[in-house]
């Protein structure tokens, strides 16, 4: 328009923009409401509508009068929400609360959530939020600092105390010392991924399942000797994720005591030195790369592992071009085993507990928090705020609420005996009884990812398949690596850190692959570290250590 250089046009649009600005301003006011409410937010005496006077852990929550709260609902295509779900009805009956779901397709849940909050249009309860997604909304005050209100949540507090989750909670605190997300709480770490082996092949070669990474190497070597023209190990979870072989790096890194793959974070806590360090430049990281380089160099591992699609990787497994692949319990049963059995005669495949490495029998720390619930600041203005928090506490954090959300109603959807949950006849869960006419998720609305996660080990493990149970029981014995202390960045620091983080992370990932694939010799490690320095590695680490010192000083 400037280029067009017509005076008339310029004036016209300036006038338009002024009037338009007024319009948007109006829209903002009506849309978002005013940022800070007049009343004292700490004073909850006027927000007791429907709340229980005495509400304690382990007690059934029942609102003093019928109330309803809006909740963002992630519509899973596997069990699309129905108004007729027993879950809604029974919930209202037990608690007096009616949930009003705002449905959002699972495919783009985060996008709409961010839009709704951004436009001031969000429901009161915003579940399925993975830390650190809540951080973006902290500084504007769009979501509540829930840590200020956990005194309304006895079950939550009880579990945090019992399971010693304070350090984990500290890790999600913001620079004001508060946290803005009610995370799912786990009694024990639930591990996800590990290696799976074709056990029939191992048996034939007289090999046993490896328990350490050194043994993994030996086993692969032995398979290679038998099949010299194939790569014994191919891997997946390399596309649609910023990290190649994301699962492998996660659990391999864990064995070397570093965060890699999915769990990669530029910054990690060095417990011995009591300071934060740069993950991609640590010795553990280097050792991990050396190990993988050995596998690729000796043609034990398929170099395409790091770039191929999941389908291609699985195809190689099914075509017996490879015999080892990363797995999680679902993929193991529903994909590998299911398809192998149909395709390869006598094939058996099993997942092993994560092999041990130099770091010993450990799992990464901080994994006992799950995705959780954000509470919109608008909820605080509601006069039934207290009742809502009590309700949230009951449904998501009480034993009874968790059992209800997961298994449904005793005698109707399940029976419980000898510490085991059993679905009633005619009800299936994730294909457990293929001929059953009803499905616990689809037809009753239980086991819904929006409401069901976390909890005691007994409850969490109650739905494990035999394979998963074996795997998880071993993993649950392992010791958690210490997690870093709280060191929240201020929002301006955060902005700066974000801009340093990505180039650093990219450089680490890229060179991870170069080193592993032999495109760059590991003798160039020092050069690599100085490249990281040129990309502000030291400044980023400094920023975090400074934040740590500051937080220590301010919050003890």
């Amino acid at each position: 328009m400037k280029n067009a250089g017509h005076k008339n046009a310029g004036q016209l649009s300036r006038r338009q923009i002024l009037s338009a600005a007024g319009f948007i301003g109006l829209a903002t006011l009506t849309g978002c409401g005013s940022g800070d409410d007049g009343g004292d937010s700490k004073d909850l005496s006027k927000k007791q509508n429907g709340a229980m006077k005495e509400y304690r852990a382990g007690q059934q929550f029942k609102a003093a009068k019928p109330l309803s709260f809006s909740v963002l609902h992630n519509n899973n295509p596997v069990y699309p929400p129905k108004d007729s779900w027993l879950f809604w009805k029974e919930l209202t009956q037990r608690t007096g609360i009616t949930l009003k779901p705002v449905g959002v397709p699972l495919s783009d849940y985060e996008k709409k959530r961010s839009l709704l909050i951004g436009a001031g249009d969000a429901p009161f309860l915003i579940p399925k939020t993975y830390h650190p997604a809540e951080v973006a909304f902290v500084s504007s005050g769009a979501v509540l600092p829930v840590s200020d209100y956990v005194h309304l949540m006895p079950n939550f507090q009880d579990k945090v105390r019992k399971w010693k989750l304070e350090p984990e909670l500290d890790s999600i605190r913001q620079s004001d010392g508060k946290y803005y997300l009610l995370p799912g709480l786990h009694e024990k770490v639930k591990s996800g991924y590990s290696l799976s082996f074709r056990t029939d092949v191992l048996d034939r070669l007289g090999l046993s399942l490896p328990t350490t990474w050194d043994e993994v190497y030996t086993v692969l070597k032995a398979i290679k000797a038998e099949y010299p023209d194939r790569y014994p190990f191919t891997d997946r979870w390399s596309t649609n994720t910023p990290y190649p072989a994301a699962a492998l790096f996660s659990y391999l890194g864990q064995a070397f005591g570093v965060r890699a793959g999915w769990t990669y974070d530029n910054i990690s806590w060095d417990d011995k030195a009591r300071e934060f360090v740069f993950t991609g430049a640590t010795d553990g990281f280097r050792q991990m790369l050396e190990y993988l380089r050995k596998l690729v160099d000796e043609k034990l591992m398929d170099p395409e592992s790091f770039t191929q699609t999941d389908d291609d990787a699985v195809k190689k497994l099914l075509a017996e071009k490879a015999f080892v692949i990363s797995a999680n319990p679902q993929e193991l049963v529903q994909n590998y085993r299911y398809n192998l059995e149909k395709q390869v005669k006598g094939a058996r495949i099993e997942m092993i507990p994560v092999p041990l490495g130099p770091a010993g029998p450990v799992v990464l720390g901080g994994a006992r928090l799950e995705n959780g619930v954000m509470v919109s600041s608008k909820a605080l203005k509601s006069d039934s705020f207290v009742a809502m928090m009590q309700f949230v506490d009951w449904l998501w954090y009480s034993d009874e609420g968790q059992r209800f959300a997961k298994w449904g109603v005793e005698g109707v959807t399940y029976t419980y005996a000898d510490g085991r949950y059993k679905l009633k006849d005619g009800i299936s869960l994730m294909g457990s009884a293929p001929d059953a006419p009803k499905d616990l998720q689809k037809d009753y609305g239980f086991f819904n990812g929006v409401f069901t996660y976390g909890g005691s080990w007994a409850l969490v493990s109650s739905s494990f398949s035999p394979d998963e149970k074996k795997f998880q029981d071993v993993m649950a014995q392992r010791q958690e690596l210490p997690i870093g202390p709280a060191h929240p960045l201020q929002s301006v620091e955060q902005e700066q850190a974000t801009l340093w983080e990505t180039p650093l992370r990219d450089h680490v990932t890229q060179n991870t692959l170069k080193f592993v694939l032999g495109k760059r010799p590991l003798s160039e490690w020092d050069a690599y570290v100085s490249e990281l320095k040129a990309k502000n590695m030291d400044q980023l680490v400094g920023l975090h250590n400074k934040a740590y010192e500051r937080y220590k000083k301010e919050n003890g």
Partner: protein, 302 residues
């Protein structure tokens, strides 16, 4: 003589030279190559959509379904949401395309008049918006405060003019011979009359193209509906299928569980492509009539 030629354009008169015949041969080879290269993946996709999971995963499916299997189709077809979504999609596509055609045609016609004062400014207003746009949140607040949420207008109005289509259409209008319009103006036809009775009939090809472009883009779009529709029963079929794909292949992020039967996971994408592109491909031949070269304009003139 002219009229005879017009009905059978430029085949009979000159005897093609040898060079040209060689060219025809090469041309045939090239176009056959194009057909093979583009057709193969599509045939493969259709085959996959009817194939069994085992065969798909083993990479056996090429041109013909292997292990014939209709599970995914059955799951999709027996779902009420799918049919409601299809209905919504048809409604949104028809309304949006109609609105878009009216506005685009009007503006393109105005812009094609070179003598019009302020024309450059009018073009500038449109071109500027190709590069500068508001963010998502301002758009959302606007639609919400106009009260358009959960209605077809939230999809039709904000996308009524694609500047690309607008400029293409304008170029077409400009390339039309001006004599007819001038004659009509002398005959006393109003501007509206000229547009409706002279220009549009001469522009069937471009109108057909634009209808095709707009309807395909509305048909395939999901984001607007996803943003502005709050209820599952208002979603177009694209959102439904997108969600289905996400659910079936959702093991990508750590910890997500694949709760869906693996047959669906294996070919839901293929089924989706078949289901969404099929209707357009069925409609296409009717549109294509207007692209068959040559005769139309000459006939009008002759």
């Amino acid at each position: 003589m002219v009229s005879i030629l017009n009905t059978r354009p430029r085949t009979s008169v000159n005897q093609p030279t040898r060079g040209y015949r060689v060219f025809q041969g090469i041309n045939g080879v090239i176009l056959t190559g194009v057909v093979v290269v583009t057709l193969y993946p599509f045939v493969n996709i259709i085959a996959r959509s009817f194939s069994g999971e085992r065969q798909i995963r083993a990479g056996e499916v090429t041109l013909w379904p292997k292990g014939f299997n209709l599970t995914t189709y059955r799951i999709v077809f027996t779902d009420d949401t799918f049919w409601r979504g299809y209905g919504n999609t048809v409604l949104y596509t028809v309304v949006s395309t109609a609105v878009a055609m009216v506005l685009t045609t009007c503006y393109a016609y105005v812009l094609s008049k070179k003598h019009l004062k302020g024309r450059n400014v009018l073009v500038g207003i449109a071109v500027f918006t190709m590069f500068f746009s508001g963010g998502l949140i301002p758009h959302y607040v606007l639609i919400t405060s106009l009260g358009l949420k959960n209605s077809v207008w939230a999809i039709a109005l904000p996308n009524a003019i694609s500047v690309f289509n607008l400029l293409v259409m304008k170029a077409f209008f400009e390339s039309l011979p001006t004599e007819l319009e001038e004659a009509a103006e002398i005959d006393g036809l109003s501007t509206y009359g000229i547009l409706l009775r002279i220009v549009l009939p001469l522009s069937k090809a471009v109108v057909a193209t634009m209808v095709l472009f707009y309807s395909v883009s509305f048909w395939n779009s999901w984001f607007q509906a996803f943003l502005y529709m709050d209820r599952a029963d208002l979603m177009p079929v694209t959102v439904y299928l997108r969600n289905l794909i996400a659910g079936a292949t959702g093991a990508t992020d750590a910890g997500a569980t694949t709760e869906q039967g693996s047959q669906v996971a294996a070919n839901i994408q293929a089924v989706t492509i078949v289901l969404t592109s099929l209707p357009i491909l069925c409609v296409y031949p009717f549109v294509q009539r207007y692209f068959v070269s040559g005769v139309m304009l000459g006939a009008v003139k002759g």
